[in-house]
Subunit: 494 residues, 2 copies
């Protein structure tokens, strides 16, 4: 007789599979019977016991969520030049010292100092309506009475080219849609963000008087998302702001009906003189080759909205806690693991550039630089990026081996390509870069918005990230060969 | 051998069941072979051809989404007493006349006139932070300098009782969580909304100087949700506002750390003299018994945020379009279908009460009154409610028969219980009430918030609602017996 399953019963059965206890290492046969071919030398085999110990220690309880709460609750957002950023730097120094880290110090960096000021956008015609908006970082302000002009709506640069002279004297609204997150294709952020960065100059070249963009997000509850913009040289500078998906839809649909839409945009935004800030450094000094370094880091600054919880509070506390966990279980690798909390990632990358310059002589001893700047969601693996593509390919293969040790946490993938904005400045010195990846379906719902707050971060996800980062950083800092170089064991042990 | 299913395969199999094509009526055997017992007289059988015709006509194309766009794009939100509400009433009258409806007119109603004015809430201690907030409708304002006081956080009334005198001189924050939507249990709105309605008076009785509530929603991107509040008689009146889930979490977590949280609340809110408004009526006059009436309606007012798209723009345009579809295919039922767009549902129910009073003499001839005020999502069935519980039970059974005609649109359920706020005033006159139900998982994400905008409404869902409302209203207006009364056929044809 064919058994009958109800959907509900099956759902419960499926959950049981998902949550089944993971067999302890001891449950596995110690040597597989009849291997198909001689096993390649495996980093994973060599580090399995250590990895299990690190993962166990990290997941047994740690301080990462309390650290993130400190930052989000007591300090909040922290844009370059703000007193909050300097408070965050003080807090990080203190927290790292309290954890007993070595060589805890700040390295001074001058950072751009953009301030938002009061701002508003209002539809005056065909009916009155308040737009929910955020000026874009780096934008100039408007005259005190604002800029009042009709709006033209275009999807993209091609659309702007098509309307020819029509943009002259108008406010250009880029209605560039970011598609819903796709597990295969990713977020579509890279493509959509173009108009945030360069929309103002594109519009100004056509004679526009201001630029609005559809917020770079796929989901919105009337949510505006800010972010950096840049003016092209020798192009008139016009104010630029993001409005919500909802307000973009309102304007676009009114225009589609042939109705003139007139908007008043007021922004007090201005750029002041550069301000002093700092990168924060701390180390778990290596036991054998302390001069060789694995960097793990994120950025300590955030936009001036929300609490910078996922972007990038999560990234920095995960790194801080990764070395804290290792130190607590007294797992000191051969090489040094250096935590770097970069300043000014959001609007200038001054911290990343300053680190690469300050540590130029040392970069040849940087075994790898890992950046975590994708939020604190469930960890999913690593990207790797190197000027030397052969080394990048070897590194990717070795990383696949290494992340196999993390399967108790979840499936991990290794890819090649862009690995981080702050560490990018080290690429030309030949440093092997790595990006710490996490599940990405919700990141851009919160990114650069008022909604990026502590309540969006799951404590268990955060702990899993600590476990993954600590394990990977430990292995990279401890394995005999440098990541991406031919294994020492290839010549020594075969 | 026990078959093995993978979760993925099972999921696909389940989908196949859900999306299997529904057999056309012609595929069913015309007479069931060997019926177990003589079939009860079926309303569905009698009206199958008409129902299919109505559904086909509605889904082939209609004006419902354009109507909702008119309202949302050209008028926007429309609180009682606002010029926008009066513009919406003018628009509805014009649209109904343009559709060729009969007896299109307004019936004057005096409505409460609350105005929000400027408002803000700011944390002053332990650090400065701006709270995203919306004053609650009906609240008094604060002095111009605002009210500055420490905040005490309680989960509910029990929690408030427990802290005793601690609320005195403080701002009470009700951190009452609305659970995530559950397909079985529904939204949990009914329970959570209690503190929006009566939190201020509960807090004032304990000596509090102002009341904040956690917004009544389960999902938030820093989204404040307003709604009506009421002051108890003989209790001091204190200002009341909703803050976001995120800001509630911030304050609650700071308090949980033992830190004093001081907030400044500024509200210019005030209640002016009652303002003139109107219910809007239009009819598809019955061909045989025009004096007997099936009311279908929703409310034309909204809160003063967003566009009132789901609440309740969708409800009114669905009703307007339901009689438009019937008229276009010349399906004139025996009785009259009367569309009523009630004014002032949100903060007074003056429209519903005025209709019941104005039409008191006629109510005995109201065969049913259907309200649609749950948004424009996919239709899911009806509730029914009647003082005469026997009649309610008979009606529910008949409705189950009737909604079986809608299975091509989706599964429909019939329940008994609360069926609508505006039609509620007719209940004591014995009128049989019905609520038009829709899929409810997202309604409270948008409800009473800036996010309730046209882009959240799916045109196809809206058309399905028109099909369902038109079909049900037609049958109720046409069937020989009145809904809830013993079928005429029981005596006439057996």
């Amino acid at each position: 007789m064919r058994p009958r399953y109800s959907a509900a019963a099956f759902a419960i059965a499926s959950l049981a599979v998902v949550f089944a206890p993971i067999p302890a290492v001891a449950d596995y046969p110690e040597t597989p019977s009849k291997p198909a071919e001689p096993a390649a030398p495996s980093i994973a085999d060599a580090y399995r016991a250590q990895a299990d110990k690190i993962i166990g220690a990290a997941l047994a309880g740690n301080d990462v969520y309390r650290k993130l709460e400190d930052l989000c609750l007591l300090i909040g957002h922290r844009l370059s030049g703000s007193p909050q950023l300097e408070r965050a730097i003080d807090w990080a120094i203190e927290a790292l010292k309290k954890d007993g880290q070595e060589n805890v110090h700040r390295e001074k960096v001058m950072v751009p100092h953009w301030v938002r000021g009061a701002e508003s956008a209002t539809i005056l015609e065909p009916r009155s309506a308040t737009l929910t908006m955020l000026g874009l970082g780096g934008s100039i302000g408007t005259p005190p009475e604002g800029i009042t002009a009709p709006v033209v709506v275009v999807a993209d640069e091609e659309g702007l080219d098509k309307i020819g002279d029509e943009a002259k004297g108008k406010i250009v609204l880029f209605d560039n849609l970011m598609p819903a997150y796709d597990p295969e294709k990713g977020s579509g952020y890279g493509k959509a963000v173009k108009y945030r960065g360069k929309g103002a100059s594109l519009a100004a070249k056509k004679g526009a008087v201001a630029c609005l963009i559809r917020s770079v997000t796929a989901r919105s509850l009337r949510s505006a998302h800010t972010g950096a913009m840049r003016y092209e040289d020798n192009v008139p500078r016009i104010p630029a702001a993001a409005i919500t998906i909802e307000d973009t839809e309102l304007i676009a649909r009114l225009r589609a009906r042939g109705l003139p839409v007139v908007v008043n945009l007021k922004m007090e935004a201005k750029t002041l003189d550069d301000a002093p800030s700092a990168n924060v450094l701390a180390e778990l000094r290596g036991r054998e080759k302390p001069e060789e370094i694995v960097v793990i880091g994120g950025h300590i600054d955030s936009w001036d909205v929300g609490q910078g919880a996922h972007d990038d509070g999560a990234g920095i506390v995960m790194c801080m806690e990764a070395i804290n966990v290792l130190r607590k279980v007294n797992m000191i690798p051969r090489r040094t693991i250096r935590v770097v909390l970069f300043t000014n990632e959001e609007n200038g990358l001054a911290g990343g550039k300053a680190y690469a310059k300050e540590h130029e002589a040392e970069l040849k001893n940087h075994v790898a630089a890992i950046e975590s700047d994708s939020g604190g969601f469930k960890p999913t693996g690593y990207s790797t990026e190197c000027e030397d593509k052969d080394r990048e390919a070897v590194a990717a293969k070795q990383l696949e081996d290494i992340v196999s040790l993390l399967s108790s946490i979840g499936p991990m993938k290794v890819s090649t390509g862009h690995s981080g904005a702050d560490i990018g400045a080290m690429e030309s010195a030949g440093v092997l870069l790595m990006g710490h990846n996490v599940e990405g379906s919700r990141y851009f719902d919160y990114h650069h918005a008022q909604a990026d707050t502590i309540d969006k971060v799951d404590p268990h996800d955060l702990s899993e990230n600590v476990a993954v980062l600590a394990t990977v950083a430990y292995i990279l800092a401890d394995m005999p060969e440098r990541l991406g170089e031919k294994p020492v064991s290839d010549t020594a042990t075969r």
